[in-house]
């Protein structure tokens, strides 16, 4: 272990004695302090928190990610170029130890830089809240927690769709050329839309599973986003009834909601709700006769407090650290294979690919209709499209552990970054992927002749 720590210490000393580190530190602090002050937000405290946590800290960690890739690429490639690696390679140190030492050293530096960013951002947040008025502080109190998202209980839509299909088939036979699967899928979508639709003058009831109540004054948020059938409508009037199955109108809240925007209602729950399902009812009172369609994906949520902001923030920082460790591993591995410019270009290209992960996943989800599945309604996919889609599916599979919602975005909107997410993010990216890269790099470095004449 001592050789690994020696190489790690060497990397740290190299960085500390370089002016680049001071410049980076200065840049990060300037970004964290000046960016929130220079960006004109929406004037609300939630907007400021979003700017500070999501954008400012996001930009800082992106800079750290780029630096990690660059420093990682340089750590081995410059040693090969300067031939100093020959002095290590002729000592009783194997290539895995060289890789591990470099990685640990740069990870330690990343930990320091990230900690500084996280602490300064936290300080900025508190400084701003101390200067804000009571109303803003009350909003911040609700937002700066770790809230669990809870969706309404969905009925068994698959079974309901099958029943509905059977009912229709009994009434009239299926048209020729239309497959059963396509019809079933179509009915499933109709039932889902029905579940989230409130017709003009109607009411809709949703049930939420019971959830733990941690205090006698637990602020719960109802968050919803919907579309209106009336084009150009700015306000939709209605009432929200919140209660239990025995008493569904414990809270009766009249609300003017804005279509396509994120609408929120806060209400306080106590221990009387323990173990009881929550019943949510919407009564449409709109004069314009609008039909409301709530978004299928997180269009109707309850946000219930599950932990403190500090814990949430720390867990998000751990995930960020895991990402930086991954990028460092990627950079070092590229540096073991190529010269600095090529290694840096390759690793930054991969960084961009990872950031385009959701786009790649989107393409990968393109449905393939194989020639033998083609019907009158659906033509077979071309072979070119099949090949491209399969390549993207492969890429999406490899990248799937790396592509997920931003932990910073969750923290800034008061959503919980749970332990499972933290463990998965930290262990998978920070440890498992990095160790895999280290293993590959050590094999490749072992095969590489480190004293070849340089051209």
């Amino acid at each position: 272990m001592q050789p690994v720590l020696a190489i790690a210490l060497l990397s740290i000393r190299n960085a500390i004695r370089s002016k680049l580190v001071l410049i980076l530190l200065f840049l990060l602090i300037v970004i964290i302090i000046l960016l929130p002050l220079s960006i004109k937000g929406d004037g609300t405290i939630s907007g400021f928190i979003q700017v500070l946590l999501s954008y400012t800290l996001g930009i800082s960690t992106f800079i750290l990610a780029l630096t990690s890739l660059w420093a990682g690429s340089a750590s081995v490639s410059t040693e090969i170029n300067a031939r100093t690696i020959q002095m290590i390679a002729c000592k009783p140190v194997n290539t895995a130890q060289i890789w591990m030492g470099k990685w640990l050293g740069l990870c330690a530096l990343n930990a320091v830089f990230l900690s500084i960013c996280v602490v300064v951002t936290y300080g900025m947040l508190h400084w701003h809240l101390n200067r804000a008025d009571q109303n803003a502080n009350e909003q911040a109190r609700i937002l700066l927690t770790a809230r669990q998202e809870r969706s309404p209980i969905l009925p068994d839509l698959q079974q309901n769709a099958r029943n509905e299909l059977n009912r229709r088939l009994n009434e009239s036979p299926s048209p020729e050329g239309v497959s059963r699967e396509q019809t079933l899928k179509s009915i499933h979508q109709q039932l889902l839309a029905e579940f989230y639709t409130v017709r003009p003058g109607g009411r809709k009831r949703w049930e939420f599973n019971s959830f733990p109540i941690h205090s006698d004054r637990q602020t719960v948020t109802l968050q919803y986003r919907f579309s209106s059938s009336v084009i150009g409508q700015n306000i939709v009037r209605g009432r929200w009834l919140i209660g239990t199955s025995e008493q569904p109108d414990l809270f009766d809240i009249a609300k003017e909601s804005v279509p396509r925007a994120l609408n929120e209602i806060h209400f306080v729950m106590d221990h009387r709700w323990d173990g009881k399902s929550l019943i949510l009812t919407y009564v449409d009172l709109d004069q314009a006769g609008a039909t409301m369609l709530f978004d299928f994906d997180k269009g109707l949520l309850l946000l219930t407090p599950e932990g403190s902001f500090a814990g949430n923030y720390t867990r998000a920082a751990l995930i960020l650290f895991g990402q930086l460790a991954f990028f460092t591993a990627l950079g070092i591995t590229a540096g073991c294979l190529f010269s600095l410019p090529v290694a840096a270009f390759t690793s930054i290209f991969l960084l961009i690919m990872i950031h385009m992960g959701s786009y790649i996943q989107g393409i990968a989800m393109t449905e393939i209709t194989w020639p033998w599945q083609a019907t009158l309604e659906s033509e077979a996919t071309t072979w070119f499209t099949i090949v491209v889609t399969l390549i993207f599916r492969g890429m999406a599979f490899v990248m799937s552990p790396l592509v997920h919602e931003s932990a910073l975005n969750s923290v800034s909107t008061g959503r919980i970054v749970d332990i499972w997410w933290t463990v998965r993010g930290f262990l998978l990216q920070g440890v498992a992927y990095s160790v895999f890269f280290g293993w590959c790099a050590s094999i490749l470095l072992k095969r590489r002749e480190l004293a070849l004449p340089q051209t």
Binding site: M87, C90, K91, V93
Partner: protein, 343 residues
Amino acid sequence: MNNPDITLEVKSVSKIFKDFWRRPKVTAVNDISFQIKRGEIFGLLGPNGSGKSTTIKMILGLLYPTRGIIDVLGRSPRDVKVKRRIGYLPEESYLYPYLSSAETLDFYGRLFDLKSSERKRRMDQLLDMIGLKHARRRIVGEFSKGMARRIGLAQSLINDPDFIILDEPTSGLDPLGCRQVKDLILTLAKRGKTILLTSHLLADVEDLCDRVAILYNGSIQAQGTIDALLEETTRFRLTLPPNATPDHLRTLENQIQTLTGEKAHIDHPRRDLEQFFLHVVEHARRQSGESSGVGGDSGTAKYLAADSAETSGATGTSSAPKSRKDIDEALNTLVKKQNDPDR
């Protein structure tokens, strides 16, 4: 190879450097074979580009032979266990410019997994030995070439190696430093250490080496003991006792002329310049005290010099200094021969 008396065996080794498309570009080493016995000082000589450094890097496992086998201390050069017993001073001291001299030695000591107390002890002794104790906190990047060379030498000895590979060990050193390095090499050899060295300063090689191999164009052109290579059986040298007078010499000169019919050549012996220089510097140091550069010779580090008395009888101990026959001449003749198209 399991013979404990053989430290290094190079068998029919070739190295061909290839281009990006794996096409052969340069044959740097071509079918060379030699052995180095335990406790021997072996010199690898040759002009620039003759394949000396390539051979050394293959012995260290930094390059892989295209053909042939190299055994170092009975194992493959790429074996990590072998590397624990090797010390290497490269032709240029590839050091980290941001580390101080103490940090440099500490770093390499850590790579050998030496305990903290042992590292510190060896570091102190080595810095003292190379005359840089006063510069232990100065960063290596500020050092002159000679000072960096000394740190390079110290790092090669931090693990008290059994097999020491020194690529141009006296390059960049002043005559005083050269003498210290040569004395150190002899001390190490007396302890039974095996030393492989290359040098352009052929007088150094002649002073130190038991055997040499002369490389040219990647091939070994000659190898053997210094005496065997340099002895000229057609010429003679006569050494007179100290009480010989000019009258004795004249009588002898006349006798030789009578017997051979030719006049013998007699003159006064000369000290060599190195000895004279060392004498002058030593005298000046006694007069002026401390120097701002490299400090005085504090002798060999204790852990390196330990047991030298006991091990001086080890196989193949150095017999230097040897007779001063001109090895440069031998090499130059050889090179000329190679370049002669009619040979």
